[in-house]
Symmetry: D2
Subunit: 284 residues, 4 copies
C-alpha cells in the first residue's frame, strides 16, 4: 500500500505542496493516518511537467522520502503546474527504482495505491494480456506497473476512463477464473500533462481513502487569512490519499466507485464501473 | 534515537535473534514501542564475531532494516556467539554508511541510542578532545561515533567503565561550559568480542529504555515448553532497547545510571557515574 | 557483459579468491582485460554455501564491487568451499538488485556473462516459454535471469547440461522465428552446492572468454614456492571469465562450445550443443 | 581524483552539456583520458542556479554517473545558465553523499579535483584551522570539503582568489610542519551564482589538466556549421577537466599556477600563488 498526491493548477514550487504542509507526503511517509501501513518507507517518486519539454521529468529512489536529500533539493527548486508525488509501502515485491511510482510512458504518468489480491497467482495471466508490443518495456515486478501496461493496452491514451474500466474488468475476470475473490483495490491517478484522472475503486466496495481539494474560490471565502490560497487560480486542485492538513472545508472525500477529472475549466466527477464486455481472452 | 540489541552466549543463527522474535529488531524498525520515534528507518548495522578472525565483521547499510535483503541473507546464514544489531533513526545528521552503528576499532565495537543535546554547538569542542592520533579516523558526523572516539581516547580498551565515565564527564563538562543543560542521553553497548558492557545513563536521570534478559535456567524453569531456551547455555544473555516479546519473566529493566557486564561466568551490574576529575581540558 | 568467478574445493576465506589476487574480481570491476567493457560497475553479487544451511547465502548490491564495504567485510569473514562471484556491466537493463547475479532457486545458483541479441524483441516469447508455475517468481528484467528460468523450466535440477542445451535451443529457435541472427552469447555457471557446471557457447562460435584453473597437484609441482597452493586440495578448481594472475601454467582456456563439470573426484569436459528437438512451442 | 565541468552563459538544458557531447562527463566517468584514473564511478554531483531561488540546487548520489537515471532525468528537464557537474574517483575516503561534490554554502558552490598528500596525517591540523563557527557544518570526510571550509574561513565570499591563496598557503605550511612534501594538487571551481573562479595549482608544479572553452564568436567563425554554437551568447564559457570533444580550436589549456574568472563581460586569467603571510597558526 502507498500514499500519493496529484497537483494541478497554478505553478508552485513542489516543496509548497510536497514538503511544507503539516501532514505532507513526507509526514505521511512516517506517520500515515489513513493508510494500511503507518510507514511508507520503501521508496518514493515524483514526476512533473514543465513547458519546455514534452515528457514529464521523473525522480525515483528506493530510499524513504523522509530522509532523501535529493527529493528536498528538487522540490525546493522546481516549479510546476502539474505534478505527482508517491510514497511506497511494498506489499512484498522488491524495493527497486523500477517498482517506484509514478510510471511513465511518453507524456503519460500513472501512480497507484492498493493491490491486486494474490498477485503472484495472477501475474502471468495479466502479463500475457499486455499488448505484445508493450510487454518488453515492463521493467519492474509490481501489480501497479502491470496495471499501467494493461491500461495502455486498452487505450489509455485515447480514453482513460474506458481503458481503466477495461483494465479493472480484466483483472476481475482473470481473478474469477483463478478463484481469487474481490481481487482489486485501487486508487489511481493518471495524467497526460493537461488533465488528471483520479479513480477510486475496489472489488469489495471498501476502497482506500481518496480526497479532492475543495474549489479554491470557496476556500478563499472560508479562509480569507490563508495567504497561500490567494496565489492559486480558481481551477487549482489537489487529489490526495489523505488530507494534507486540518483546514475545515478544504477536503472532500471522493465517493466509492467513482472517478474525477481535473482539467482546465470545470472539474467533473463520474461513476466508475469495471468493463467486462469485449475483453480479449487473458492469455492462458 | 535508535534501537539496539546485543547478544552473548550460545552460538545461534543471527536470524533467530534479529529476525524471528515477535517484536524483533526488524519489527522495531517499523513499530518501536518504547523509542522516541516509532520508525527507525535511517539505516542499520550488524556486527558479529566468529572464531576464525580476530576482528568482528560489520554489515551496515543506509536502507531501512525491514526491507534490506542482504541483512536477511546474512542473518539466516551466519552463526555467532556474540553479535550486535542496531537500527537508526537519525536526529538530523546525514543518512550515510559511516553514520551507521556499530562502529569498530580493531576488536572493539560500539553502538549507541540517545543523543548529545545541541550537538552542533558542542561538536568541535568534543572533536578536539579526541586523541590526535585517532582524530583522522573519524568518518561520519554523528555524536555516537564521536562518543566512541572519546571513549577510545580515555582508555576504552583498557577499562571500559572508566573510559565511558570519563567520556560522559567530558561531555557534561563541555556542555556546561557552553551553557547546554542536561546534555547526555545514552544507552551504549561496547564489546571486545568476549565481554559486553552495557550502559544506561542520562544527565537528566530519565534515560532511554534498556532491558536485559533473565537468567536462562530460571527462564527454562518458568517456561519448560519454550524449546529455544533449551538450546541456550546458562550464560546466554541479551541486552536490548526494548523486549523482543511478551514472555513473562524474560526481561528485566536495567536501572537508571548503571551498567552491566555480560561475560563468561557471572554477569554483573554496577552503578554508573560520569567521571569529572582529571579530564583533559577540552580543546577550545 | 560481465565477469564472474566460480570456486570449488578446499574451504577458504572468500577474500583469498575474490579480493587478494592481483587481477581479482575487484580489479576486473575497474580494469577488465578480456571483457567487452573495461568497467564492470553496475552492481555485483556473491553466493556461497556453508554446511549448516541448505540454501546458499546471496549478497547482491547495485554499487560497484570496488567501493562496496559490505562486500569486503563478508569476503574477509566468510569461509566456504563453493562460491560464486559476479560483477555486472549492464547492457541497458536497469541497475537494480534483482538484476544482479547470482540468481537463486532453492539450492541452485546461476550466473551469466553475455547477452541475448535484440532481447527486447524476444523477451515476451521467451518469458511465455517459462513454466507458468515459475513465471511469477521472475523479479528482474534481464536476459540472464530469464535464461535461468528457462533452464529451470527444462529440468535444470534434474540434468543441467540437457536443460541448458534446451534453453539455448529455444533461444535460437525463437530468435530465428523473429529474424534475429546469432542470438546467444553466454558463459554460464550453475551449481547445486556440490557440483559446478560451466558452459561456454555462442551462436556465432566466438564466445566470451572462459578459463579453468589447472590441476592443483600439477601446479604445486610447477610452483613449489607458492604457499597458497599447498593449502588447497587436489580437487580444488576455479572457473573464471579471465585469469586472476600471471602464474604460468595456472589457467587453461575452456574450449568453444563446451562445458565442464567441477565435482568431487574427477572433473570433466564435454562438447556443448543446443538442443532443438522436442521444444515446447514458444508462446506467440 | 575526479573530473568536473563548469558552465556559464546562455541558459541551456543541462543535458546539452552534461550528457550529449561525445566525451561528456558521463563518458569521462567510464573512460577518462586525462585523469589519474580511467574510471570515475564513486558518486557524482550537479549543482545549478535558476532565477527563482537564491541558492543553487544540488543533486548528489553515490552511484556512478553513467548508470544513474535521476541524473539523466534532471539533466534533460532542467535549464540553467550556470551549473557545475562533478564525477568522483575516491582516493580512499568513504563513498557517501556528503563526500560528493559540489559542496554548497548559501549561494556558493565548490568542487575540486586533486588531493592533499597524506591527508590522514594533516586532517586534524587543517580541521582545527576551520573557523569554529563553521566546523560543525562539516558533514563528510574528504580533503575537498575541508578545503572549501578553509576557503570560507579565509573569506571566500569576499575575495575568492585571496581566500583560495590563503587556503593553499595554510595547507602547504601545515604539511611542511608535518614533513609532508609537495602536499597540494588541485583544480578547483567556485561560484556565487554570477561568476565562476577556476584555479589550477599544485605544489609540485605539475597540476591536473584543466581547459577553458575558446571565445564563442571565434568558434562560430571557425565552425559556421556547428548549430549549437549559434545558440550561445558571446560570453558563454566552459571550464573542464578535459575537453568534451574534438572540435579544433575549441579548448585552451589553463596554464599552470593560474586562475580564471568567468563572468558577465570580459573573462580574465591571472597568476595564482599560495599566500603564506598572516596565516593563523594552524591548531595543534
Amino acid at each position: 500500500m502507498c500514499r500519493w498526491i496529484a497537483y494541478s493548477g497554478t505553478p508552485v514550487l513542489l516543496s509548497q505542496v510536497l514538503l511544507q504542509p503539516k501532514h505532507s507526503l513526507i509526514d505521511q511517509s512516517l506517520h500515515s493516518r489513513m493508510g494500511v501501513e503507518t510507514t511508507n518507507g520503501d521508496g518514493f517518486g515524483i514526476g512533473w511537467y514543465q513547458e519546455e519539454t514534452a515528457e514529464p521529468a521523473v525522480l525515483r529512489d528506493i530510499s524513504p522520502a523522509w530522509n532523501n536529500r535529493n527529493l528536498r533539493e528538487i522540490a525546493r527548486h522546481t516549479r510546476s503546474g502539474l505534478f505527482f508525488g508517491h510514497i511506497r509501502a511494498s506489499t512484498g515485491t522488491a524495493v527497486q527504482q523500477s517498482n517506484c511510482h509514478p510510471f511513465r510512458s511518453g507524456r503519460w504518468m500513472w501512480m497507484h495505491n492498493g493491490a491486486i489480491s494474490e498477485f503472484h497467482r495472477l501475474r502471468r495471466d495479466l502479463a500475457l494480456a499486455v499488448d505484445p508490443s508493450l510487454y518488453a518495456d515492463i521493467e519492474g515486478s509490481t501489480d501497479s506497473e502491470l496495471m499501467f501496461f494493461l491500461a495502455l493496452t486498452f487505450g489509455l491514451t485515447e480514453d482513460p476512463p474506458a481503458a481503466v474500466a477495461r483494465m479493472a474488468g480484466l483483472i476481475e475476470t482473470t481473478a474469477d477464473a483463478r478463484g481469487v475473490p474481490l481481487p482489486l483495490q485501487m486508487t489511481v491517478a493518471v495524467t497526460d500533462g493537461e488533465r488528471v484522472w483520479a479513480f477510486r475503486y475496489s472489488s469489495e466496495g471498501r476502497s482506500r481513502s481518496l480526497y479532492v481539494s475543495a474549489e479554491v474560490d470557496a476556500l478563499r471565502a472560508l479562509h480569507p487569512d490563508v495567504s497561500f490560497l490567494r496565489e492559486l487560480s480558481d481551477e487549482t486542485r489537489l487529489v490526495v490519499s489523505e488530507p494534507l492538513g486540518d483546514l475545515p472545508g478544504a477536503w472532500n472525500e471522493v465517493p466509492e466507485n467513482s472517478y474525477g477529472v481535473v482539467q482546465p475549466g470545470e472539474s467533473a466527477l463520474h461513476d466508475f464501473r469495471p468493463e467486462y464486455a469485449g475483453l480479449p481472452p487473458s492469455g492462458r
